[in-house]
């Protein structure tokens, strides 16, 4: 019974949390944007630019945390571009988002080719190393999964807690959610819907880029073309799956990563020798679609998602 063997192996649980980490950052970023009323389809490209900027910073000789910071700033810059076009100018969020994805991706690829024109195999950096929390990391299964990860993974879980706290426990969070539900009420209180939405898109994009940077400076040690490979789109599905709630979205990311970790291991089993490996690789995408179908009926979409707000218009 291979599935059972996989489920009781420590490496499976550790892989699940590792695979979930970049998704958690980016899903939280997208969640903030959507809660404020902006669908951010720039996510895929912003993850690419984050992966590149973070890696390039470390490759240039700066520290790993400097890489995280630069990735975040790069993401925020593209977030600002997305924000200006989609919030005050109210342009189609679909068009702006896809445009930002294309722009951010091609800027990253262009800059990579410019910086490293000659390389055939991608150069490596020394990525974040796992940090074992004393005692806790010794707990079977749970220990390797949650207490023997890299610092960025711990940061990912902290981000979920902060996002949940700010959203539900602070006036800022309430104003942000109101901007996505009923922007007119926010404006009536004398707050600027534009400022709130811009802030949400910029901060959210910063988180997406950190998610991308996780790939190059924590999970792997190089930057590859196509390495984000649809993770951004999956995060958009995870936001829907989580019903726009940080805790549920975190669970979704873990669940999804669990399936992903399992499918890789299933390929090594006798069953994997029978079934083409592509079937395993498409499982995560199929699961995402199924999850969307199941969840969409009861999901509570922010009422003003994708609705531009122009003051003085009724």
């Amino acid at each position: 019974m291979e599935i059972f063997d996989i489920l009781v192996s420590a490496s499976f649980w550790a892989a699940m949390v590792r695979i979930a980490s970049p998704l958690i950052f980016a899903t939280m970023g997208e969640l903030i944007c959507e809660r404020a009323g902006v669908l951010n389809l720039g996510i895929e490209g912003i993850m690419v630019i984050g992966a590149f900027a973070g890696w390039m910073t470390v490759y240039a000789g700066f520290g790993l945390w400097a890489g995280v910071a630069v990735a975040m700033l790069a993401g925020m810059a593209f977030g600002a571009l997305h924000g200006v076009l989609s919030v005050p100018f109210g342009l189609s969020q679909h068009v702006v988002g896809l445009g930002v994805t294309l722009l951010a991706t091609s800027v990253a690829y262009f800059a990579y080719r410019l910086a490293l024109p000659e390389v055939t195999s991608p150069p490596k950096i020394v990525p974040f190393q796992p940090f074992e929390v004393p005692i806790l990391s010794q707990i079977p299964l749970v220990g390797p999964a949650f207490f023997a990860q890299t610092p960025m993974t711990y940061l990912a879980f902290a981000v979920v807690a902060v996002v949940a706290l700010v959203l539900y426990r602070t006036p800022l969070g309430l104003a942000l959610m109101a901007a996505g539900e009923n922007p007119a009420s926010v404006a009536a209180q004398g707050l600027s819907v534009t400022a709130i939405r811009m802030g949400a898109v910029i901060v959210g994009s910063g988180l997406m880029a950190v998610g991308g940077a996780f790939l190059t400076i924590s999970a792997f040690s190089s930057f590859f073309f196509e390495m984000v490979n649809g993770r951004g789109w999956i995060c958009i599905a995870l936001v829907v799956f989580g019903g726009w709630k940080p805790g549920k979205a975190l669970l979704g990311a873990l669940l999804f990563a669990g399936f992903d970790a399992a499918q890789v291991r299933m390929q090594q089993t006798p069953l994997g020798a029978e079934v083409p490996y592509q079937v395993f690789l498409m499982m995560p995408y199929i699961l995402s679609i199924l999850a969307l179908i199941v969840m969409s009926r009861r999901a509570s979409v922010p009422a003003a998602l994708m609705v531009p707000f122009n003051k003085g218009e009724r």
Partner: protein, 349 residues
């Protein structure tokens, strides 16, 4: 700030802003070329020369524009109804797959009926692939952006699986590619002696047909109404869901034709790199054309020119070819902004 509609925008405004958008794009392109250590004027000149500078270059541009006209039309038709089909890439591959399934010996027919049947089947395959997301949208309220995007990834894996399995060419030296099409299933050349196949002609005809549908038929009117305001359209008695299904058939079908045209007209077999993102580029083509079917032809030629020209410039001047994608993304974002500013005035509060 806020936006105030302008009742009668003047000619200066209507032409000025798009012109500024194009100018800024060119300036950014020059800056990128300088960053790469090349002379900006020479770089731009090389791009233009590489796109239309010779008979060979121009034909290359026309060949590259052919799939982009199809995918651009596919996106334009769908976006007009606010059906966000980002899955033209997968629909293209569905059409290509059917072309190979029917065109490698399954039917021993003469060329004309064979090509007609394959083209129709390719359209149907593309259409069917879009039906799933549309039904999910109308029945369960699932956002079609995400589903069509995810299906792109699934479809590529399906193609990869088939090319390494049942569809693998036994004579292919181990490469994952399909067997070549039989001669009768190849699209002939448009003109004797010119390396341009009938796919281009078919693309132009498709643009005309879509234009006629949009401007001269009830369906075209209904698609516009659903796109402008689905609720109002429903209230006016338009069967919104049925219109969306018809739109999906048209949109998916056009993307399927792109796959047919690439396999039957250009490549002659199916490989995993049949499309370098034609489905995604179709979105840019459609947006630059303001979703107008005849505009799609022009914008596909422009986009294809930028790509072909940049490839050739990159070989000569050493500026990375990704400059083409940056230029197109910049042009797209600036152009949608410029077109907004032709109709609205920015007012300070």
């Amino acid at each position: 700030m806020r936006l105030e509609p302008i009742a009668n925008p003047g000619l200066v405004r209507r032409l000025g802003f798009p012109a500024v958008a194009l100018a800024v794009t060119v300036v950014i392109g020059s800056a990128l070329a300088m960053l790469a250590g090349a002379d900006p004027f020479a770089t731009l000149g090389l791009i233009v020369k590489g796109a239309v500078g010779s008979r060979f270059a121009a034909l290359e541009t026309l060949n590259r524009a052919t799939p982009l006209i199809f995918t651009g039309l596919s996106v334009a038709v769908a976006f007009r109804a606010k059906l966000w089909n980002i899955g033209a890439e997968a629909q293209l591959y569905a059409g290509a797959l059917v072309t190979v399934l029917l065109g490698t010996g399954a039917l021993a027919w003469p060329a004309l009926p064979l090509l007609a049947v394959i083209a129709l089947a390719a359209m149907l395959a593309g259409a069917v692939l879009l039906l799933g997301p549309v039904v999910m949208k109308t029945r369960a309220g699932v956002d079609e952006v995400v589903t069509t995007l995810l299906i792109n990834f699934i479809m590529l894996l399906v193609i990869s699986m088939l090319l390494e399995g049942p569809l693998k060419d036994p004579m292919g030296m181990g490469w994952p590619k399909s067997a070549p099409l039989q001669k009768a299933a190849r699209l002939p050349r448009l003109f004797e002696g010119l390396r341009l196949h009938w796919g281009f002609g078919l693309a132009l005809i498709s643009a005309l047909v879509v234009w006629v549908i949009q401007t001269r038929t009830t369906l075209g009117y209904e698609i516009r109404a659903v796109g402008q305001n689905a609720q109002a359209a429903r209230f006016a008695g338009i069967p919104v869901n049925r219109v969306l299904l018809k739109t999906a058939f048209l949109s998916g079908g056009l993307a399927g034709l792109a796959g047919f045209s690439e396999v039957a007209g250009l490549k002659g077999n199916l490989t995993l790199d049949l499309s370098p993102g034609f489905g995604y580029t179709g979105i840019i083509v459609a947006m630059l054309a303001l979703l107008h079917p005849l505009g799609v032809v022009l914008s596909a030629l422009f986009v294809a020119g930028v790509f072909v020209g940049s490839d050739s410039m990159s070989r000569a001047a050493g500026v990375p070819t990704y400059i083409a994608d940056i230029l197109l993304a910049t042009a797209l974002l600036l152009m949608v902004l410029a077109l907004l500013l032709t109709r609205f005035r920015v007012v300070r509060d």
